[in-house]
Symmetry: C2
Subunit: 437 residues, 2 copies
């Protein structure tokens, strides 16, 4: 055994764990047991899981090891435990979308994404905590880097579980910020691919034109392995690729960015071995948040506005507010918002005539104290609306020593190149201490 | 010269004319001159054209003949005159979308469809009469089969010009019924391909998810030749294909169908050399017209609702009514309509598990007297909403001896098969005299 594999199995990255299992140096049972041990120790503090049946996880691991011994073809995630945000249906676990209104719901079928993971050999470890229907609300999950702070939302449990070494991989989703914001807050990688990357059937779809899968992991190589399971276009190993032309931009959320986060990004940019010019963003992007929230509100009012009053009374406040706002929206305004979103996708494509990719912050700063809310998603909304692939890289630290993500954004459909550029950045960059805010 | 080519050139079908030109037996100049002669004689009665510059048409024909003599590669429509519904932009002719508000408008660029026609060698004969912005309104165009009757709408001039042998081919569009209804009324073939068949850039797009190109011609072989210019999937010659399983259905517009039209269809079905069972349509299709009109109204309110009052005052009554209706529509209802439309596309796909294609009427009867309006589009709306390819075949006659179209509808994306089945029907079927209504 190499020195590397002497670390506790739950601390292993997914690609190392998968290789160790494949090579017979680690069993899925041992890996899952280590993860369960970590969860037993930490879950009472962190609260990342909405459903976890340790025996059922062990049972899947046993079966994985048996299949391997029987000479079965091994999928790329054979025996590797994965956390699944509880907005994906699972045929064998509760699927409650974070809502009391769906308590005990057990759908008959797996979401397509879950079925894909099973086919790749993954152990579905359990369901991770989400805000109600993925709304912008609080959860009881805590940030494992600092338990007094929020892990970000809405893929809170997925980011926390990965950051805390409870599992090497977790599925998230993102309509506006729900993968990159918690990734930034918890100091892990969070990748939202190009819109339409994989089927979202069997998941909580709020806005069809915004919904996306999200991948959370502790290493960039794991993101590539994870995403490769869902697309032949992504390679399971990621050769680093230095961008020829890299730009940075502030984006419409910049006014809300903390001073220490700005300093950390500026300092980090100077460490790169190429010139990084600032990119001016067309004015149309200024309306991205407004447009995204209007589309979201209208779809929420459509979906939840006619639910029985007894059910609606239990909804979280942000959902109720959105329903009310959406019910008051007229169709002409809605069409206008859809047209603006279409226009942003075109405008974004033009941005990449000046650069191969651009960087900005993935969140406006470090994770907030829980009393201050989950933090703003303004840094990612425009790229979600434009359908661009985007990834948060845990390369910065703020004034409290907590992680802040660098966000790397690329052209639609160039997800593989984006991951290669992210690998290059991860390889050359070490988190540098920030200036105090 | 064969006997066939002794007919007046303007009476030739497009594929025969194109072959004659290619073979040196007919010049484009002679063909265009014959069409201009027919137009000079008939246009004062029919009124199919909103713009026609005879000298400019001759000039294009002269150039086509010169290019041929110079040995240029010949496109599939080399030297063949085509009428273009005036909802397509043309860089060299007025493009007024049938609206006084756009009088004298001359766009700088061709619509993509027009550019495609030019690249195929066609002579752009002129612009044909459309209702204002393709709305469901009257025009001054008359039905060449009976000048007291409406040619149907909104591709009125295109259908009338083809039926009256002014041109062998004309472009139309269809959001709900605008190609098949006038084709049925005027007794020509009218084909609306699968949604998304070709780019509609540079045309009057009312509802992005409904807008479609339409092809009008007097022979089924011409429809295939015409459509093949726009898609490699369509073959310029159409081998007849007998459907294995053909069904017929009434559709949600059946309540408004005239008795003579019902009889004509029933009699025709008995002449087919295969059993044609009646297909039950899922109840969701009953709402197709309501949904299509809601989507249309909302988009019209978005597009025209904020136009200057002086401009709006000139709009036709149906447009003003739609704007008012759309302005009052809420976003939730709009999303519901879009979801119903999505559902119809899925439901329609399932219909074709029981048959290769189905037939119904293309219109509720013969062309109406002009005082009675342009006729209902209810027979085609559901298939437009579901994105299905559909073609009107001039195979029936009503109680007044006027044409009624058989409508043949197939699965999405199987346009080539649909045209082959339409060719089979056209070959075996002779219009049979109807029973009196």
């Amino acid at each position: 055994m190499s020195q590397r594999e002497e670390v506790a199995p739950n601390s292993l990255s997914a690609h190392r764990a998968a290789a160790a299992i494949r090579g017979g140096r680690l069993s899925s049972v041992a890996l899952v047991e280590a993860c369960l041990g970590r969860i037993a120790a930490r879950e009472p503090l962190v609260g990342a899981w909405s459903f976890l049946d340790a025996d059922y996880a062990r049972q899947q691991a046993v079966q994985a090891d048996e299949r391997q011994r029987a000479g079965a073809l091994l999928g790329p995630l054979h025996g590797v435990p994965v956390g699944v945000k509880d907005v994906f249906d699972t045929c064998d676990m509760p699927s409650e979308y974070g809502s009391a209104s769906l308590q005990g719901r057990r759908p008959a079928f797996d979401a397509d994404a879950v079925a894909t993971l099973r086919a790749a050999g993954a152990v579905i470890m359990g369901k991770t905590v989400t805000t109600e229907f993925g709304m912008y609300a609080d959860t009881s999950c805590r940030n494992p880097r600092d338990l007094e702070r929020s892990p970000g939302v809405s893929s809170a449990g997925s980011a926390a579980a990965v950051a805390d070494e409870m599992v090497p991989l977790a599925l998230g989703t993102q309509h506006t910020a729900s993968t990159l914001l918690p990734a930034s807050c918890c100091g892990v990688y969070g990748f939202k691919p190009t819109f339409g990357f994989t089927s979202m059937r069997g998941s909580n779809i709020l806005v069809p034109r915004l919904v996306n899968i999200g991948f959370l992991a502790r290493e960039i190589e794991d993101i590539a392995l994870f995403a490769s399971v869902f697309s032949d276009d992504i390679r399971p190993s990621t050769p680093p690729l230095q961008p020829r032309r890299l730009a940075w931009l502030r984006g419409p959320g910049w006014g809300g960015v903390a001073a220490d986060a700005k300093s950390a990004l500026a300092a980090w940019l100077t460490t790169l071995p190429l010139a990084v010019d600032e990119l001016a963003l067309p004015a149309s992007f200024e309306r991205a948040s407004e447009v995204a929230h209007a589309l979201l509100s209208a779809h929420l009012a459509y979906r939840f506005g006619s639910a029985p009053m007894a059910e609606r009374e239990g909804y979280c406040a942000p959902l109720l507010e959105a329903i009310a706002k959406g019910a008051a929206l007229d169709a002409v305004t809605f069409i206008g918002c859809e047209n603006i979103a279409d226009g942003l996708a075109v405008a974004a494509d033009q941005l990449f005539e000046a650069c191969d990719a651009f960087v900005t912050l993935a969140a406006p700063g470090e994770a907030l104290l829980r009393s201050a809310g989950p933090g703003s998603g303004a840094m990612t909304i425009p790229w979600s609306l434009a359908g661009l692939p985007t990834i948060a890289l845990p390369l910065l630290k703020g004034g409290n020593g907590l992680p802040i993500g660098v966000q790397l954004v690329g052209p639609r459909g160039q997800d593989r190149r984006l991951l290669s550029m992210a690998a290059w950045m991860s390889n050359i960059c070490n988190p540098s201490p920030p200036e105090a805010s």
